[in-house]
Amino acid sequence: MVDSPGATNAVLDIRNLTVTFPGRPVVLDVSIRVEPGEIVAVIGESGSGKTLTALSVLGLLPRQARVTQGSITLNGRPMLEMPANRRRDLLGDRLAFIPQDAMRALNPVLTVGDQVGEPSVLHRSSTWAAARRTAVELLRVVHLAEPEKRAADYPHQFSGGMQQRAMIAMGLALEPELLIADEPTTALDVTVQAQVISLLRDIREGHGTSILFITHDLGLVADFCDRVYVMYAGRIVEEGPVKDIFENPRHPYTAALLAATPSMLDPADRLDAIPGQIPAADEVVAGCIFSPRCAHARDACNNAPPHLQVSRGHSVSCWFPRGLS
């Protein structure tokens, strides 16, 4: 969203990213920045393009997807133009990914210890014996009881919470600059969720690791993240510090999201409160993408996509932002 010129010491700087599937854009002109030591949240419903944005950073987009515009830098390194082998050097080392469903993300035929230790073997020329020892330590760090025993276990022997913690251990292994967590708590129940969140927070405190936290659960965002980007239908509709967004949501969609969250305890958020649905990705919308569902839409909203309105680090893509018109 923000085309700010000038030097950037951001850990992650995504600018004007557009990703298309054959015939339709699924991520449109998205810009996201993560500063060192920040925890940045990207919120949106499923289908809003948040996971695809994350995969673009990693270079792991599905076969049919294409990046047609934009740039991504990781601490200054240009990610999109990078040759594949150079990117492979970074993945798992400087940049780590924690996917949504830990059970399916773990290889059933390898021990947890081997999988957690693998980054060391891949990037630090470690021996497997040493890597396994490292894995035990990492499992201890993520608060897994009896890590020596656990390391020799297979993923199917772990509970959901333990599996997710193992994935986090895998991500942390080489102290990355940036951790991308894609809905890491969605498949977990509430108490385990809280543990995982607190773990991530400890990681940021302890190592200064920046985190890009993707979720659809507003409740989690409130007391854990620094800044928030709100995505809708592949576009960023609002961004700003967490406090500002929660106290003063400027975009009707953000406001509706907040209103639709009954409490912070229900992880399976569904936006039934907002009538209508996300437009089909190949629908061409002339004006603001949200106007069909917006309770406050006016004629002007359907003519052209709204410009950015900036105020004190808080931007919104709306013709008539709440509280300002």
Binding site: L58, L60, R63, N85, R87, R88, D89, L90, L91, G92, D93, A96, F97, P99, D101, R104, A105, L106, N107, P108, V109, L110, Q115, E118, P119, L122, H123, A145, K149, D153, Y154, H156, Q157, F158, S159, G161, M162, M167, M170
Partner: protein
């Protein structure tokens, strides 16, 4: 683990018994032919009756079966109608030949199927995949006895690199043995590899689209590592389970191939049994081949089980 093998073996026994019953029935569907074969077309009705009385062929079927069965479990498989040779020892003598052929063919088939199947899967939707898949389709349509004939034409008659038939025991002279086994093994192996290739490809494609492969890539693992360390073992499990059906085709083909290359194995014994209507021989030889197929299936089952940590493992519990 041992418990697994024991249960599988235990299941094998009733299957074998049932199989022997079916074979016995199949052979005896049409009465009278054994005697005529042994004695020749001009045999007199009296000679036939005498022959049948001598060999107990005039008794009711279930009596014949019971008699055969009781002797068989003691290891006595009767004597050939033609030349009165004991069937049991003859079968045993020929077993190593057939086993060697089967093992070699199996090896060749897998050496072709596994790498090519994996490559095709890795390069799915690209030209390499189409090429390999087409190759598999073509290979799978080749009749193994025709391939054998062609191989003999090229390598034995034209190039004179290899002999056209005959057998030397492995222990006697390994090199000579292999030169005689390579063409037969290729005839069987190449055709078998086609189906196995498809199975490996399908299995690997499925595995490569899994989340854990994405995790491996997200850790920066290069393609080779992804396939070898992460994908292969996972793909092997369904490959083994589904591919086991190929054993039936393989051992079936042994019958023809041994005939073509004049290998003194059990397959050619089956043929002899048929042509001469030599029932004890036929029964004994066919049963042994069936046993081999069943055991091969069992071994593959156990292997697949061992590869998968999710099967009955002493779980150390979870939180």
């Amino acid at each position: 683990m041992l418990r697994l093998i024991a249960t599988r073996l235990a299941l094998l026994i009733p299957t074998l018994v049932a199989a022997s019953m079916i074979l016995f029935l199949a052979i005896n569907v049409v009465p009278g032919s054994a005697a005529r074969s042994a004695l020749g077309v001009d045999a007199t009705p009296q000679a036939i009756m005498r022959f049948e009385a001598q060999n107990g062929l005039d008794r009711p079927l279930y009596v014949q079966y019971a008699d055969w069965f009781s002797k068989a479990i003691q290891g006595d498989f009767g004597k050939s109608f033609q030349n009165r040779v004991s069937v049991g020892p003859e079968v045993l003598k020929r077993l190593p030949v057939t086993l060697e052929l089967a093992v070699l063919s199996f090896l060749i088939a897998n050496l072709i199927a596994i790498p090519l199947g994996a490559i095709a899967a890795y390069r799915h939707t690209k030209p390499t995949d189409t090429f390999i898949t087409s190759l598999a389709t073509v290979m799978g349509a080749i009749p193994n006895f025709w391939l054998a004939t062609l191989l003999v034409l090229v390598f034995a008659l034209k190039l004179r690199w290899l002999p056209a038939g005959g057998y030397t025991p492995l222990l006697e002279d390994p090199l000579k043995n292999l030169t005689r086994m390579i063409l037969p093994a290729l005839s069987l192996g190449i055709v078998s590899s086609a189906l196995l290739l498809r199975i490996m490809r399908a299995s690997m494609i499925e595995v490569l689209s899994s989340d854990y492969i994405r995790t491996a890539r997200a850790k920066g693992a290069p393609g080779g590592v992804v396939v070898r360390r992460h994908a292969l073992r996972n793909a092997a499990i369904p490959y083994l389970t589904v591919g086991a059906v190929e054993f039936g085709f393989l051992f079936g083909g042994v019958v023809i191939i041994e005939d073509i290359f004049r290998l003194p194995g059990i397959g050619s014994l089956v043929l002899v049994g048929i042509i001469n209507r030599d029932y004890p021989v036929l029964l004994g030889a066919t049963l042994v081949v069936t046993v081999a197929v069943l055991i091969a299936n069992m071994i593959v089952d156990i292997l697949a089980n061992m590869l998968d940590p999710r099967q009955v493992r002493r779980s150390s519990g979870s939180t």
